[in-house]
């Protein structure tokens, strides 16, 4: 005696958020039943294991049927197959496109290709996110990437409109797409201390300041690519370290401003030239795609690590960068104020974000 067929279909599609989460997390039906039993649903309605199993199977089937629609969320609103109340639709989409920070941290900046997909089982064991869930998340990244890649207009807005995601989630996806497109290196050991949210913040900064769309959102180009002209212009900043007078002038201005305001003044004064060289060299090299990829590792190696070894506090860091940036404006022979601001604005906020343990 066995149950050959068992279905339950509601006119309004019945979905249990808890089961949905288990499904998204890649649990098998049996594992999900176990989790639910431990969760104590059974007591709620005098249910037995069979009831739970049957319910879980039904829901899993429903989700599988919905999955196709979730791939293009706009369809979910005007499809006729499932009658799902709008707030539920939003929940379904939001949860489907949600991802694990630990997982995304692993693939951030990697090419969203078949090759990477093959590595997913390694990532799965490393992050203890189930392979199924890894695949879903990876496919989501890829899908969003593919759709948005060719679109004009602001990146975040495009993602939000096409995938009906919340602003927060859309921004995260923008970051993922942006990182994947520019192939930023994030996997190096030195970068391991940084969380996805740190990178997402930086990506937001880069997108809103360094892309073509950032200066002129009427431009037809996308904002997944950095503004090439701007990167060219960054070379001009080299003058700050190549011109000896300018460098000294800059240093004295900064030191005057900092004196007495920080405990690590000596260290700051001592490493000024090195740090300044580091930052400006990063800027000057950004025309090379290879160096763009190393942007974050460079920031860490050339700036954050030296500072940290000198035991600067975060406040010291802020103080220093603020004065470093502002002092350049007073240098009368320095003509590239606009580019400088555009560059330092982003670098400053990225470093602020990245300067932690």
């Amino acid at each position: 005696m066995s149950v050959e067929l068992d279905v339950f279909v509601g006119n309004t599609t019945i979905m249990d958020e808890e089961v949905y989460q288990l499904w998204l997390d890649g649990y098998t039906v049996n594992d999900a039943v176990k989790v639910r039993m431990e969760g104590g649903v059974m007591d709620e309605c005098e249910a037995s294991k069979d009831v739970l199993l049957s319910d879980t199977m039904d829901q899993y089937r429903t989700f599988q049927m919905c999955e196709r629609l979730l791939h293009s969320p706009a369809k979910l609103a005007n499809q006729l197959l499932f009658q799902i109340p709008p707030h539920r639709q939003i929940m379904l989409i939001e949860r489907y496109y949600a991802f694990d920070d630990t997982f995304v941290r692993e693939v951030l900046g990697k090419k969203l290709s078949k090759g990477t997909k093959k590595d997913l089982d390694d990532i799965s064991t490393k992050t203890s996110v189930t392979l199924k869930s890894c695949r879903r998340q990876f496919d989501n990244f890829k899908r969003v990437f593919k759709v948005v890649e060719e679109l004009k207009g602001p990146l975040v807005e495009n993602i939000r409109q096409h995938f009906l995601l919340s602003d927060k989630l859309a921004r995260d996806y923008a970051a993922i797409v942006f990182f994947a497109n520019n192939r930023f290196e994030t996997g190096k050991r030195k970068l391991q201390y940084l969380s996805f949210q740190d990178f997402a913040f930086c990506a937001g900064q880069l997108i809103s300041n360094w892309t073509v769309g950032a200066v002129d959102n009427m431009v037809e180009d996308m904002d997944v690519d950095l503004d090439k002209e701007f990167l060219q212009e960054l070379k001009e900043l080299k003058i700050l370290i190549t011109d000896k007078d300018l460098l000294d002038q800059h240093k004295s201005l900064v030191c005057t401003a900092l004196r007495g305001k920080t405990k690590v003044f000596i260290e700051m004064e001592g490493s000024f030239k090195n740090l300044s060289r580091g930052l400006i060299n990063i800027a000057a090299k950004l025309t090379n795609t290879k160096d763009v990829r190393d942007f974050f590792i460079d920031l860490v190696e050339k700036f954050i690590e030296p500072c940290r070894s000198d035991r600067w506090s975060a406040a010291d860091m802020k103080l220093y960068l603020t004065h470093y940036t502002n002092s350049a404006h007073i240098l009368d022979t320095f003509k590239h104020q606009v580019v400088w601001d555009r560059y330092m604005g982003v670098v400053k906020s990225c470093i602020f974000k990245m300067y932690h343990d």
């Binding site: 149950v3 067929l5 006119n11 249910a47 049957s54 199977m57 039904d58 049927m65």
Partner: protein, 1165 residues
């Protein structure tokens, strides 16, 4: 050319990719109606094509409009090879054919393919321009409204209930045609879908014609089913209740009195069609002169003389129908049926036949009178009169009414003068008249308050037939005859219960290979004659004298049969409510709980489940085996129901539905009903356990079981809050002795009911129900009794429209369908083992529902409709459709008492200018002493092998140790006291009739008027529906939310418009079962698709809900080895627009603005 159909293809979306190379589709659309086809241009390389086609116009007969669906095929254009079909949409035009319903069909329809399921959507607009066709000989019946709802639809008032209509059409099943061997599965499925769609249309049209003939304008409680007979054909059949409905214009309800008269007057004499009107004056004129039984009949010939008849129209009709009647002589068709009737079983029809012979002189004379009638028009009624109770005719029952009236008059006229002996004769004549009303059946299950006078009990009949013995499988005659037979049986059962009508009537079949079980069941009842007098309210002062007004909340429980000659053993007591009349100890019915009934506590779902193994056999042997098993199954189901009822401390069952399903090696029986405690009935006694012989089982064991039972009863009392208002055990309602102890020989008429009270020997308190434990089987049975788990806290369940004890619904509604198939792998199963498996299956299903719907607590599962089937040898399939509704827990206690009453009275005002077309019946209901037949329930000891059963409402089966069926006895009980009132009635009737004849012409005028006014107001309605539609599209989501419910109402809303019936049939097939997620995945998506298509059609009609939704059929076949499966689903319901009760006013204002908006868009298009 009576109609022009216009269709416009606007756009498509979400189309599938048909060209792998480009990942796109070059779609175009074929629009086909009848034999005409139009095509749109190809919209190249798009998955969201915009065709924006011209209006395709079809000029067609309205007959075709009714039969044919509009067929829309979406194809992918292919330059080099044949175009690939993407899918189809069938649109039923019917809702556009009556002016009150939808005016346009417009919206997104899922494109459906029988192999791939839904593949994108298409936006279509359909309109119909109907030219009025006044041709009397037309074959169409446009304008007749159909409702699945089994009560008078909200926003309508029934001015007249004409009665039973049925029709059946047969065709060859395309799946069994030779061509099926060479065509693709897709082509075969589509041929079948189209055929059933055509047949449904034809069936509806034919029923509509019958309704028009009867003078009605609507069919309520329309129940359409199809039987897949296999080789012998495909049958689509339908039954319904013909009515004349008046639309209630909201807010203008009180206009009834003035407006009603033209309608009610003819109604009151059971006539609405011209032909009948013509005959009425006869009785009026004859009445004064009638002086003996034969007079009315003699008077009949003169009926031809009054001039105002208009016989020309119905003439051809009736004669044609009588033609078919004649061909339907049933006895000659007998050889197909396997039936053996042993003498042991008291076939209820035989005693009735004896009364027939008694009354033959009377009816004979009627026949003669008619025969001498020079007009040929009367030939149809004539034939029906001459045939006795065995007559089988297509049901055009209005002719009967007339005849009933005739004989009723006659006997009434004479009754005043004749002495006692003659009265018996009179009564018999009335009885004859009743019998001649062909089928006084009503498919309705709930009625306006006061409509039901008395309820006798459940009557049911089953018959086993062999499909391979049908002489002429392509013609409907044989099946017609089968059903006639069953209906006759039902009718005679009802008569045996002293009832003249059957309400809550339904029919069903179960087919396995060549064996077919036909079943019919209903509730025998006496309907209120008051509604027949409604038309003569002005004379009304005499009204109260007619009958002692029986209290509305208990009256229907009072027994309709004679207490001295009860048709079955039962314990009668005086009604616990009014203490005036007798009530049985238990009441079983197939109808819904009347809204005015007084109940204690809540109701609950009660199910009896049973499995019976049978040997595999072929042909007649098989049929005989099945018919031999049937009575035992009915008996056991009945015992189970009774025990479970007692266990819940309840005393009445409503909505009883017994399904017996046949498989190759087993029979499944499932009885579902809603138990309730009626305060008018005595409190149920407990269940007593007794060992057969003291030594068999230890008394400890017995007492432990007894204790468990008592505990369960106590728990259930608590659970269902059964605290009968008066527990005072005064001996007023003491049971009368078992009827068999008394002599039931002819009683003189002087022995009136007064005398009965003396005979009421106090017999102690109600006996406890005794269960004997004599073997292990019995122990099993008792255990299984106790298995039924009560629903978890916060849940209630019922299978009726209304949940007894809950009325304060909140808006949460969740309709669902669930299917479960169990494979019995174990070859050596016993009956007991099977029973256990089956019971667990049903119980687990319920548990699953409770669990899934736990977020809705407090909630009630209403209208739980279980269907069982044995699709293959070792498979059991259970299909359930129900609705979960939330209610307000806080208010339950206080409001239940008052609310139903208020609601009821309101409804009464709305619905109840309600002359039932039953004049003669009404009089007979006062002379309710029909011939009495004692019907014994079959007991296993009496080796029964009849295949047609009467399960009367048999109280106390379990204790009926009386194995020997009692002989039929004719009782002339007491009716003298009623005679005088009855005469009053007749006199009144005479007035009515006179009035009716005058009113006829006026009525036709008013009809004409109403038609034109309808036309005038139609733009407004159009505007309204448009405004609904447009306001929808402004909303965030472009998809209308369509609620579905198997009930006739949606809580918290009011239905403002019925848009037409939804009746859809789909086939889905797959050759890649595994890829689609196995059988469950396949069926899951198919059911979801069916829901989606229903919703889309309703939305396109401008509606936002489906009420009275049901899944009639869900036939699932699989072949996992071949990776194949096929499923057929048939669903139906009423598409409606409903608005929230709270914002009616605001919606009225939006309707106004919508109207202007609508006219603007009108101008634009």
């Amino acid at each position: 050319m009576p109609g022009k159909l216009k269709a416009k293809i606007v756009a498509g979306r979400h189309l599938p990719v048909m060209d792998r190379a480009s990942d796109l589709t070059d779609a175009f659309v074929e629009v086909k109606f009848g034999n005409t086809t139009f095509k749109t241009d190809v919209c190249p390389k798009s998955l969201n094509p915009q065709w924006n086609s011209e209006w395709f116009k079809f000029e067609v007969d309205d007959e075709d409009l009714q039969d044919e669906p509009l067929q829309i095929t979406v194809l992918d254009h292919d330059t080099y090879s044949a175009n690939d079909a993407i899918g189809k949409v069938y649109i039923d035009i019917d809702p556009l054919l009556y002016s009150e319903a939808a005016s346009v069909i417009s919206g997104w329809f899922p494109i459906y393919d029988t192999i791939h399921g839904i593949r994108g959507e298409i936006n279509v607009i359909v309109k119909v321009e109907l030219f009025n066709d006044l041709n009397r000989f037309r074959q169409s019946s446009c304008g007749v409204k159909f409702f699945c709802t089994t009560c008078i639809p909200q926003c309508y008032r029934a001015t007249l209930v004409h009665g039973f209509v049925e029709e059946l059409v047969v065709n060859e099943d395309p799946e069994y045609q030779w061509i099926d061997r060479i065509r693709t599965p897709r082509a075969s499925n589509e041929a079948r879908q189209r055929l059933i769609s055509l047949m449904s249309g034809e069936l509806q049209r034919k029923i509509g014609l019958k309704v028009l003939e009867m003078g009605g304008n609507a069919v309520v409680g329309y129940l359409q089913c199809f039987d897949l007979e296999g080789e012998s054909g495909l049958v689509v059949r339908a039954i319904g209740t013909a009515c004349t409905l008046d639309k209630l214009s909201s807010g203008s309800a009180p206009n009834t009195n003035t407006h009603m008269h033209p309608n009610t007057a003819p109604a009151s004499n059971a006539c609405n069609s011209p032909s009948k009107d013509g005959k009425e004056p006869v009785f009026v004129e004859d009445l004064p002169s009638s002086s003996g039984p034969p007079t009315p009949f003699r008077a009949l010939p003169t009926s031809s003389s009054p001039p105002p008849f208009s016989p020309s129209k119905p003439c051809s009709r009736q004669s044609s129908s009588s033609d078919t009647d004649l061909s339907l002589t049933p006895k000659t068709e007998e050889p197909h049926s396997v039936r053996c009737r042993p003498g042991i079983f008291l076939c209820p029809s035989s005693p009735i036949l004896s009364t027939d012979t008694l009354s033959l002189p009377g009816s004979g004379s009627v026949g003669c009178g008619r025969g001498s009638n020079p007009r040929a028009t009367t030939s149809a009624p004539l034939s029906s009169i001459q045939s006795d109770s065995a007559l089988l005719r297509k049901s055009v029952s209005f002719t009967e009414d007339l005849l009933l009236a005739a004989s009723g008059m006659g006997s009434g006229g004479s009754a005043g003068k004749e002495a006692g002996p003659l009265r018996t004769l009179l009564r018999q004549q009335t009885q004859t008249a009743l019998e001649q009303r062909e089928f006084p059946f009503f498919t309705l299950t709930s009625f306006p308050p006061g409509f039901l006078l008395h309820v006798g009990g459940v009557v049911s009949a089953r018959s086993v037939k062999l499909l391979d013995r049908i002489h002429n499988p392509d013609e409907p005659e044989t099946r017609d005859a089968w059903w006639e037979e069953i209906r006759q049986e039902i009718k005679s059962h009802a008569r045996a219960l002293g009832c003249h009508a059957v309400v809550g009537y339904s029919e069903s079949t179960s087919i396995c290979e060549e064996v077919c079980i036909l079943s019919a069941s209903g509730t025998a009842a006496i309907l209120n004659p008051r509604y027949m007098r409604e038309g003569c309210l002005d004379i009304g002062c005499t009204d109260h004298r007619f009958e002692e007004p029986s209290p509305p909340n208990c009256g229907f429980c009072h027994i309709p049969y004679d207490e001295l000659n009860m048709p079955f053993p039962a314990q009668l007591t005086y009604c616990y409510h009014c203490r005036r009349q007798k009530v049985p100890d238990v009441l079983f019915t197939t109808i819904d709980l009347p809204s005015e009934a007084a109940v204690a506590g809540k109701g609950c779902l009660i199910q009896a489940r049973l499995c019976r193994l049978k040997k595999k056999a072929q042909g007649e042997a098989n049929a005989t085996a099945i018919s031999n098993l049937l009575p035992f199954m009915e008996y056991e189901l009945h015992t189970q129901l009774m025990n479970k009822l007692k266990l819940r401390s309840m005393n009445a069952l409503f909505g009883l539905h017994i399904q017996i399903s046949v498989g190759e090696n087993m029979l499944l029986g499932l009885a579902s009903a809603t138990g309730v405690y009626l305060t008018a009935l005595p409190a149920p006694g407990g269940i007593q356990i007794a060992g057969k012989t003291p030594g068999d089982l230890s008394s400890e064991h017995i007492s432990s079981i007894q204790k468990r039972i008592n505990d369960t009863i106590a728990v259930n009392k608590e659970l269902y809050q059964i605290n009968p208002p008066e527990l005072a055990e005064e001996g007023v309602g003491s049971p009368i002795p078992e009827p068999r102890h008394r002599s039931r020989l002819f009683r003189s008429h002087s022995e009136s009911s007064d005398e009965l009270s003396e005979l009421d020997l106090s017999h102690g308190k109600k006996d406890a129900f005794v269960l004997e434990i004599d073997d292990t089987d019995a122990v099993e049975d008792i255990h299984s009794l106790l298995i039924d788990a009560p629903p978890p806290t916060g849940f209630y369940s019922c299978n009726t429209e209304n949940m007894p004890g809950i009325s304060n619904w909140t808006s949460g509604v969740q309709m669902f369908t669930s299917v479960r198939v169990l494979r019995l792998s174990n070859a050596n199963l016993t009956n007991q083992g099977l029973n256990k498996i089956f019971t667990d299956l049903c119980e687990n299903l319920l548990k699953s529902f409770y669990f899934k719907l736990r977020s809705m607590i407090p909630c009630c599962l209403c209208h739980l409709n279980f269907t069982v089937a044995v699709p293959e040898e070792e498979l059991i399939q259970v299909t359930v459709t129900a609705v979960a509704m939330t209610y307000d827990k806080e208010q339950t206690q206080e409001k239940t008492a008052e609310k139903p009453v208020n609601k009821g009275s309101l409804e009464a005002e709305e619905q109840l200018q309600f002359p039932l077309e039953l004049c003669a019946d009404s009089s007979s209901s006062n002379i309710q002493t029909a011939s009495k037949i004692s019907v014994s329930l079959f007991t296993p000891a009496a080796k029964l092998c009849q295949n047609q059963l009467l399960i009367a409402r048999s109280a106390g089966v379990g204790e009926s140790t009386n194995m020997s069926p009692r002989a039929a006895s004719v009782d002339y009980g007491s009716f003298a006291d009623r005679c005088s009132t009855w005469l009053e009635l007749l006199r009144l009737k005479a007035h009515t009739i006179r009035r009716g004849s005058v009113k006829t012409s006026r009525r036709t005028q008013s009809l004409a008027h109403s038609v034109s006014s309808l036309e005038r107001c139609s733009p407004l309605q159009e505007g309204r529906s448009r405004s609904l539609r447009s306001s929808r599209s402004f909303g965030g989501s472009s998809v209308t939310v369509v609620k579905m419910t198997p009930l006739s109402f949606l809580p918290g809303t009011r239905i403002i418009k019925y848009l037409g019936i939804i009746n859809m049939f789909f086939i889905r097939e797959t050759t890649s079962l595994r890829e689609e997620g196995g059988v469950s995945g396949f069926l899951h998506s198919f059911i979801a698709e069916v829901f989606a298509m229903v919703r889309a059609h309703v939305a396109a009609l401008g509606g936002n809900a489906v009420v009275s939704y049901s899944m009639k059929e869900c036939v699932f076949m699989e072949n996992p080895n071949k990776n194949q499966a096929q499923c057929l689903i048939n669903v139906s319901g009423d598409a409606v627009i409903c608005i929230s009760e709270t914002d009616q006013e605001s919606s009225a204002s939006t309707a106004n603005t919508g109207q202007t908006g609508g006219s603007e868009t009108d101008g634009a298009t």
